[in-house]
Amino acid sequence: MFQKKLLFFTLGFVFLFSGCGQVAPNPSEIETGRNNVSDTTEIAPQTVSIDEGGFGSGETSATTDGATGSYNSSANGFQSVYFPFGEYEVDESQMQRNIDRAKETQGKIKLEGNCDEFGTDEYNYALGLKRAQAVKESLINHGIASGRIFIVSFGESNPVCTVSSDACYLQNRRVDFRLVK
């Protein structure tokens, strides 16, 4: 009989203290919110909005050269130079028309390096710049004064074709020529 009482006592003891493993914070450690005042001040102030328009709005469009069937998005009689994926070595066969045209003209020549949309931010801009630099060196090697040429990279920001195809992406991996007046 005593053992039965002991059993019930033990069962009660077990059930009474079961559940002590619950992870609850110590109420004394809880900070109670005070005074109901918003403290979102760091994001509350109004931010500005500025307009830097006026430059760069000129879109570039690609045309197809009737004689050669090649694409072109350069101006002033120049022919854009195109590159394989990830490459920045100039195919000299694409340069002759540009060398001739550079010799016919005067004034500064701006070379704009461009990429397809693959690759990420900075690397793509550097790749576009390497393409422009390679074309610049080719022009210099063919007698064009280095002081006439300056380069800029537009990375993937200036696509002339937005269709998802290898042929389209090829049109975007290019260096465009512009005469600067």
Binding site: Q3, K4, L7, L11, F13, V14, F17, S18, C20, G21, Q22, V23, A24, P25, P27, E29, I30, E31, T32, G33, N36, S38, T40, E42, I43, A44, P45, Q46, V48, S49, I50, D51, E52, G53, G54, F55, G56, G58, E59, T60, F85, G86, F118, G119, T120, D121, E122, Y123, Y125, A126, L129, K130, K136, F150, I151, V152, S153, S157, D166, Y169
Partner: protein, 428 residues
């Protein structure tokens, strides 16, 4: 007079009861440890339920609250939308087995106001209450983030202050046109802060997010400016032929890492802002870009094609040795750093333009295990949170675009879809 049979029966019963007592007491003695072990190994997150006391259900606010709790890694929230009186301490019986109940009420007139109460689920005892108010309704997501980070802090979990920060990014709108946008981390709030022309590579100039650097193409030479987002004051920092990008800002904002190309050659420089002195860090005939301070700003990690393809390298700011950090992949062309940790993008497929193009990996400048963080889609622009606990990235998959977050401790991830205008660069 007990029979022999009943005596034997009582003895067996006694022995059984003794064993039963022993087993029950043993179970209880070890139950606490067992319980704690299970909680540690299986589920450390606090189970919570949200009770909405608003007059009108706001699905966006509800979604943001659930996202905040989930990405914190500290809470396991009910996804069921309960309603109830904000002021009452009554907890429905069905919710008493949660650890906490959060009651909230949202009102958008005349100002966006959020009332929040944190209650202990078992007793209904109030642990925290606060009212948040902001005049611009569009900034409501920040109110919600602030409330959740406060609740997190009240319960003494590790900080999740990163959810309160602005995200800044540039996106293309058309050829040679982009805009710079301020957003909350979910992209629920968005505001164009610079529009017109081509403005790229925004990055925060200070820890308090008052100013940011960006590259402007408004003149013939790309130019780096610093713009104060509250006053609109703009300061020219540096210009360079070819390209100029601010890749990273040191902890106290006194120095920045730049990619410059003064002779048409992209290399990494460090600029001390007070003296405007530039120091060339790398000198290579190929591509060196994307420098990030590493290891207490004693060294950098950066992207270079010096082994014939884009890969991640490290270099001491004082020494000359350049060492690879990553030993797999043939096109690892973007990275971010936090302490010794490095997260980077790797092009996976051999075909240039396949769908499964870019994945993220986590590695260390000290060697060790490299861990994949994503497995599908095109995942780019990896960025660490300021405490290094979360990785932010942009995911393109099919025709959809999302901003994603990976909690490195819990491996939980969240994606927030956004309308697809191509992101150019992002900072946090």
């Amino acid at each position: 007079m007990p029979t022999k049979r009943s005596i034997v029966s009582q003895c067996i019963e006694g022995i059984f009861l003794k064993y039963l007592l022993f087993v029950l007491l043993s179970l209880h003695l070890f139950a606490v440890d067992a319980s704690l072990t299970i909680e540690k190994d299986v589920e450390q997150r606090a189970r919570i339920a949200l009770i909405d006391g608003s007059e009108q259900f706001n699905p966006l606010a509800w979604k943001i609250l659930l996202s905040d709790f989930k990405i914190s890694g500290h809470f396991l929230s009910d996804t069921k939308h309960y309603t109830g009186d904000l002021a009452s301490n009554y907890i429905p019986a069905s919710l008493k087995n949660r650890e906490y109940v959060i009651k909230y009420k949202l009102s958008t007139t005349p100002k966006s106001t959020l009332w929040v109460r944190l209650l202990e689920a078992s007793s209904g005892k109030e642990l925290f209450q606060k009212r948040y108010r902001i005049s611009m309704e569009s900034k409501l997501p920040f109110l919600l983030h602030k409330a959740i980070s406060d609740i997190n802090n009240v319960l003494h979990y590790s900080k999740i202050d990163w959810i309160n920060r602005y995200v800044i990014f540039s996106r293309y709108v058309k050829a040679k046109q982009s805009e710079i946008v301020l957003a909350d981390y979910t992209f629920s709030y968005q505001k164009v802060i610079v529009r017109g022309g081509l403005n790229l590579f925004p990055i925060w100039a200070d820890a308090k997010q008052k100013s940011f650097y960006y590259t402007s193409y408004a003149s013939l030479r790309p130019t780096l400016y610093r713009l104060n987002i509250y006053t609109g004051s703009k300061e020219k920092i540096v210009a360079s032929e070819g390209m100029v990008v601010c890749s990273d800002v040191n902890h106290n904002g006194s120095k920045i890492l730049l990619t410059l190309a003064p002779q048409g050659q992209a290399d990494i420089y460090e600029l001390t802002l007070s003296s405007k002195q530039k120091r060339r860090i790398t000198q290579f005939h190929g591509i060196d870009v994307n420098a990030k301070y590493s290891k207490d700003e004693e060294s950098i990690v950066f992207v270079s094609n010096r082994l014939g393809h884009a890969n991640i390298f490290k270099k001491s700011l004082q020494g000359s040795a350049v060492l690879p950090v990553v030993f797999h992949g043939k096109n690892n062309n973007a990275c971010d750093s936090y302490g010794d940790k490095v997260v980077y993008t790797s092009r996976e497929s051999s075909h240039s333009f396949s769908q499964n193009s870019f994945n993220l990996y986590l590695t260390s400048t000290q060697g060790g295990v490299t861990r994949p963080l994503t497995t599908t889609g095109s995942n780019q622009f990896p960025r660490f949170s300021r405490d290094g606990s979360i990785v932010q990235f942009i995911k393109y998959r099919g025709n959809s675009s999302s901003i994603g977050y990976i909690n490195l401790e819990t491996s939980q991830s969240l994606l927030f879809p956004f309308k697809s205008k191509k992101i150019q660069s992002i900072a946090w």
